[in-house]
């Protein structure tokens, strides 16, 4: 495990970042206008994620019809080639993926104004083309972007990030190597608030360190929100300019 | 004199008199033997016209029987009727828009999905969806049925619900009434609806009913007192 120096005495991480630095975060929206109502493509570090939102539309199954609100369905497709080593088996029905899907649905159920779209289905399809740590957080960010692109009303952004704890130093936005070597916390934050929609700790972490990790995480998630917001505004300004020119 | 019977037990029937069988009793079409099919207390009434036999047994799963008072939750609304659930995971029943007092094609009831209704089972054919009504269908008048607004529902066994509704000597309601004023609707499907002007009183009644279910009558007083004490601190000794 200590083949690598995860955090050097000079305060540098494996990929040269400092403890509080995000990975490269690049996103675009409206990437699949033909195939969906809203779409996004996100690269967070080496995570590469395509998200398609279809709907609100007529439910495909009777069981998806709710007379009071829209049903939200999220499918996460982690491709076999997404990791360095190609996985032999499909990830489709893995419990870990089912858990992720449930967590994502429950995160967005409270943030999307589903009551505005009764008797409809909002179907979200995510394809993970490549993964490199903190995948759950990246999924949340990519869904937020695609949902906003689709014009579906939501209360606020949900932005998410994973933080590792290296001894006593929190490391923001972990990659796979870091994630495998230390305890990580993933959190999903609502807008600019300090309210957490999602919080997930999967390994041991001292109780008395948790608070500081959360604080860093919230700050990081706010920064992610800002980056997403920038892209959205840029896109919007572009669209507005284009339509007013004509 | 009550007798405990088990399915298949021998039950003496006076062959000379007409016999009517109630719930829990069965007459073998071949042998004409009268057999209990449920475990419970055998009730027997003899009079000049004949004898009546039924088994009073307790169970959890409610099966609609015509004439039963029930409490249901509206789970769907169709063109001309509501779909009502009397208990979770059992077949829903239907409540026609016309089964309300003063109903007409123009004057539709205004229940919403999730609302509670007090109603009576008006048709319960085995092969068909059972139907319930919110009025006295013989007179077409209001008979105290309809929407149960607010309040809380306690779920008890069917036998306990029957005791509460039919047994005038059953002490629980009187005990509760000593402590608080409340409204109650008893559904034979094991749902008891309660409402009072104070949420704590309702809670105390709710918990007392749940706690008393399955206990000896002698313990009721203590249970009720304890609960009112806990929720409202107003029990004076």
């Amino acid at each position: 495990m200590s083949r690598f120096e995860l955090y050097s005495p000079e305060g540098l991480r494996l990929d040269g970042r400092r403890w509080n630095e995000l990975r490269r975060f690049e996103c675009s929206i409206n990437t699949h206008a033909h195939a969906s109502d809203g779409s996004s493509y996100l690269e967070q570090g080496n995570n590469k994620i395509v998200t398609l939102v279809k709907g609100p539309q007529e439910p495909i199954l009777r069981s998806q019809l709710d007379a009071t609100k829209a049903s939200l369905n999220i499918t996460v497709n982690i491709t076999k080639f997404s990791k360095m080593e190609r996985s032999k088996s499909s990830h489709k029905n893995e419990r870990r993926v089912l858990e992720m899907q449930t967590a994502l649905v429950r995160t967005f159920e409270k943030n999307v104004m589903l009551h505005l779209y009764p008797r409809t289905l909002i179907d979200i399809e995510i394809h993970v083309l490549q993964q490199d740590g903190g995948i759950l957080g990246s999924l949340i960010n990519s869904i937020t972007l695609a949902l906003i692109d689709s014009g579906i009303a939501m209360y606020d952004y949900v932005s998410a990030i994973s933080i590792g704890l290296y001894d006593t130093t929190p490391l923001l936005d972990v990659n796979t190597l870091e994630e495998n070597a230390m305890s990580t916390v993933t959190l999903g934050v609502i807008g600019k608030s300090e309210k957490l929609s999602l919080l997930s700790v999967e390994d041991k972490i001292p109780l008395d360190r948790l608070e500081s990790v959360l604080a860093i995480g919230i700050a990081g998630a706010h920064r992610v929100r800002e980056l997403m917001d920038n892209e959205l505004r840029k896109h919007a300004a572009h669209r507005v300019a284009k339509s007013s020119a004509k | 004199m009550s007798v405990l019977v088990l399915p298949g037990d021998n039950v003496e029937v006076d062959a000379g008199k007409p016999v009517s069988l109630g719930p829990g009793m069965y007459c073998d079409p071949k042998t004409q033997m009268v057999l209990p099919v449920n475990a419970g207390v055998l009730n027997r009434t003899d009079n000049k016209r004949g004898q009546t036999l039924y088994v009073d047994y307790d169970s959890k799963r409610y099966i609609p029987a015509t004439g039963d008072f029930v409490i249901g939750v509206i789970t769907g609304a169709f063109a001309d009727s509501y779909r009502v659930s009397l208990s979770s995971f059992s077949t829903p029943v239907s409540l026609s828009y016309m089964a309300f007092p003063n109903a007409s094609k123009k004057n539709r009831p205004t229940l919403k999905i999730g609302d509670l209704v007090y109603a009576r089972v008006c048709s319960s054919e085995k092969e068909l969806e059972a139907e319930i009504e919110c009025m006295d269908s013989t007179t077409g008048q209001d008979a105290g049925f309809g929407l149960l607004d607010e309040g809380m529902v306690a779920e008890v066994s069917l036998g306990f619900a029957r005791q509460l509704l039919y047994n005038n000597d059953f002490p629980l309601l009187k005990l509760l009434a000593k402590h608080a004023q409340f409204e109650i609707a008893i559904g034979l499907n094991g749902k008891i609806w309660l409402k009072s002007n104070d949420i704590k009183n309702t809670l105390a009644c709710y918990k007392s009913i749940l706690d008393c279910s399955g206990k000896q009558i002698g313990e009721f007083n203590e249970i009720v007192k304890k609960n009112f004490n806990q929720f409202t601190n107003t029990v004076e000794e």
Binding site: A33, H34, N46, N77, K80, F81, K92, H127, L129 | -
Partner: protein, 266 residues
Amino acid sequence: MSLSVAEKSYLYDSLSAFPAIRPDGRKPYQFRPIEISTDFLPNSNGSSRIIASDGSECIVSVKSKVIDHTIDNDDLIKVEVDIAGQRDDSAVVESINSLLSKVLKPNADTLDTSKLQLTKKYSFKLYVDVLVLSSYSNPISLISFAIYSALSTTTLPKLVSGFDDLEVEELPTFHDYDLVNLELKSPLVFLLALVGDNLLIDPASNEYEVANNGLIVTWCNGKVTGPIRTISLNNFYSKGFDASLLGKGIKLVEEHANDVLQALES
């Protein structure tokens, strides 16, 4: 897509006219424009993404693994297709999978996999994973173009250990960062719709609905090869066709495949 009877008969009459009038005015041999990106998955040895103008999209990843071909003598190329919204055991996925594994069957004439042999004992095995993100008609042609683009840009680690290793216990070793281009040219698959006496390349989804039959033609290294198949494109108009159309179809592909290849290469 379900079309109305009137739409279908309008389309059928237009497409079976001579010359055929396609709803978007294309020539019988004309493809719709496509967009291709390659080399965007650093974790894979090769990758490509192809988007057609109707929004159909597929992504291909090529990953390699070193195997001992004296033990594991399966085909050196393994292809797997995943179509979004379809179960892995659905008929569409299985039929495309089976067709593709035939298309990518190593064959000295068409798909020369000798390039994958590293040493006397070891070879690279390539895993070609296809993800169809969206498609409005049979994506087979698009997939074959994407695989072609991915394989032609695939790079593999450079071998530094010796070729003759039958007696050597060690695994082959590779250069730390030098890569070699694989330069494997995989076959292209063409889908033609038969309407009346006309043959139409790259049928759009509405053309699909009125085709009397479909023809799958594989082309590699300047000539038509197997598999050649018919494929029913709809349930309504499907019927048998004159054998001469088969020859015409093959000829049509022979005439224009090189243009496609050049466009993919450019």
